[in-house]
């Protein structure tokens, strides 16, 4: 551990993993609580006031979700979360239109649940194009244009990347998809309530939304499905025909209320929240780079959500760094903390050198992060990186002027 790091009056571990999940905002929880107990009705019950009360709450929430993305409330389908929304959007559209169209376009840096759904569609006979990304993590719009054919049913490109925070050019992508007559789906689990989104202006046909990424509860999400021009999809869950037949099952009223409330708060405070988070993000980045040489930001510097910084600390292995900063809850940019020893597929898609990919961690800031926490994190990380570099043979070799690429390493 780093000696002499003064621990200011803050609670540890410090949570800096807002891309993994966020706490429920206390204001959101207050809105939810009555719907667990006294207002427990089934929102689909039509014959008594318990049902009407619950239905009204659900419909208010639906309108709140719609409003934050510029949609109509009739276009919002509640789901269990963004994973289900992504599954429903891709499988639902592909299967509904499969007689005429059999092609899907997506991006290599999408979330696993989009990529895995695409693999599933490939097994069913669909063709999938995986667009590459440039070194900054963004797609090339000309490559997108070239990939779309008359057989393309849907294009799926995420808003904000969960690992590196870059923002894809949604408006430009939407315009291309509209012009070419294909549907545009975007996984906005990390984007809703954090960057301005407008389904009309951006020509978005389907959008996946997650509750727990924006200070709402886990277990709830939504799928925006455009009505004009109408997007049709085959339901995955059959039953009582709730959610206009697209997603059967009794709606979880308290969770719907929570998602709606989270959206309303995010919309109201987006400006001030973002300004704060940008300031914290800059404070962290400037603090780290002022203390440590050879730190690299993965993904575009400007075209990003500032609450996500994915940094490579050259010559220091990511997992050993995490082990030394136990007072910070951050995520390894590489997948080394899981059983696989492969570095992150997202960083590899960016063309980040494998050795640098092994040195990455993701730091996420959010609504409840404080300046004192940032300063503590900077001090702790900088101290630990210095310590680990002092014991890194690679750092030593580079200091001696040895080019690491000139060495014939025995890959194992």
């Amino acid at each position: 551990m780093v000696e002499n790091t003064k621990k200011p009056n803050i609670k540890t571990p410090v949570y800096l993993d807002y891309q993994a999940t966020t706490p429920v905002d206390p204001r959101v929880l207050d809105e939810m609580l009555p719907y667990f107990t006294e207002k427990f009705g089934n929102p689909h019950s039509r014959s008594h006031s318990f049902g009407w009360e619950a239905e009204e709450a659900v419909e208010t929430a639906r309108a709140q979700v719609a409003h934050v993305i510029g949609a109509d409330e009739k276009e919002i389908v509640f789901t269990s979360g963004a994973t289900e929304s992504n599954n429903l959007a891709l499988k639902g559209v592909a299967q509904f239109y499969k007689d005429r169209k059999d092609h899907v376009v997506t991006v290599v840096t999408e979330h696993k649940c989009v990529l895995d759904t695409c693999r599933h569609l490939e097994q069913e006979g669909f063709r999938v194009t995986y667009l590459p990304v440039a070194k900054n993590g963004l797609i090339d719009l000309d490559q997108l244009r070239d990939a779309i054919t008359d057989r393309t049913a849907i294009v799926s490109v995420m808003g904000v990347n969960n690992e590196i925070g870059v923002i894809q050019p949604l408006k430009e992508i939407g315009a291309i998809c509209r012009q070419r007559g294909t549907f545009f789906h975007t996984d906005c689990a990390q984007a809703v309530g954090k960057i301005p989104l407008d389904v009309e202006e951006m020509n978005i046909d389907l959008m996946s939304i997650s509750g727990h990424k924006l200070y709402g509860p886990k277990g709830i999400g939504a799928l925006y499905v455009r009505r004009k021009p109408r997007v049709r999809l085959r339901a995955m869950i059959d039953g009582g025909g709730q959610e206009r037949g697209m997603r059967s099952g009794t709606l979880p009223t308290p969770l719907c209320v929570g998602l709606g409330s989270a959206c309303a708060i995010a919309e109201k405070y987006m400006g001030t929240d973002n300004e704060r988070i940008r300031r914290l993000s800059d404070r962290f980045y400037d603090g780290i780079t002022a203390t440590l040489p050879e730190v690299f930001l993965n993904g575009d510097r400007a075209q990003r959500y500032p609450g996500n910084l994915n940094l490579s600390f050259a010559y220091v292995e990511g997992e050993s760094l995490l082990m030394g900063i136990k007072d910070l809850a951050v995520s390894s940019g590489s997948a080394c903390t899981s059983a696989s020893l492969e570095p992150s597929y997202v960083l590899r898609a960016l063309g980040v050198d494998e050795e640098l990919a092994h040195t990455s961690i993701r730091i996420g800031f959010g609504r409840f992060t404080t300046e004192a926490e940032i300063d503590y994190a900077v001090e702790l990380i900088a101290g630990q990186v210095k310590k680990l570099r002092a014991m890194s043979p690679l750092w030593e070799m580079v200091q001696e002027g040895i080019d690491l690429k000139s060495i014939n390493w025995a890959e194992h």
Partner: protein, 130 residues
């Protein structure tokens, strides 16, 4: 991932970090692993005129288990003859540190590193003799 107490101890208080003069005749150096794989170990031994390892130093780029494996092996080889040092098996390291299956390769790397250091020292002596 939960680390064993011994891994944490070696990670927080690594033994014998540092470097010996790699050009000295009585120093053998082993450099194993690859940056692209996420671990590189440099292990150095200083051997006295009786063929006994009297000092050992390491530097490691890698996870906590890799750091612990190399730290541990520097402790073990000190005072041993070259032949004894070369018989240390990765399984002994893995067992002592209670490494989980996905981290066994860290102990293999440490075994490779000591073998490489011994081989480097012997090559240097061979040159001198020849």
């Amino acid at each position: 991932m939960a680390y064993s107490e011994r891994v944490v101890d070696h990670y927080e208080n690594p033994r014998n970090i540092g470097s010996l003069d790699k050009n000295a005749q009585d120093v053998g150096t082993g450099l194993v692993g690859a940056p692209a794989c996420g671990d590189v170990m440099k292990l150095q031994i200083k051997v006295n005129e009786h063929g006994i390892i009297e000092d050992a130093k390491f530097k490691t780029f890698g996870c906590g288990s890799a750091i612990a494996s190399s730290s541990l092996i520097t402790e073990w080889v000190k005072g041993k003859s070259l032949d004894e040092a070369a018989t240390i098996k990765n399984t002994q390291i893995a067992q002592h540190l209670a490494l989980p299956p996905v981290k066994i390769h860290c102990s293999v790397l440490a075994e490779d590193a000591i073998k490489a250091a011994v081989a480097d020292y012997r090559a240097k002596q061979g040159h001198k003799a020849g």
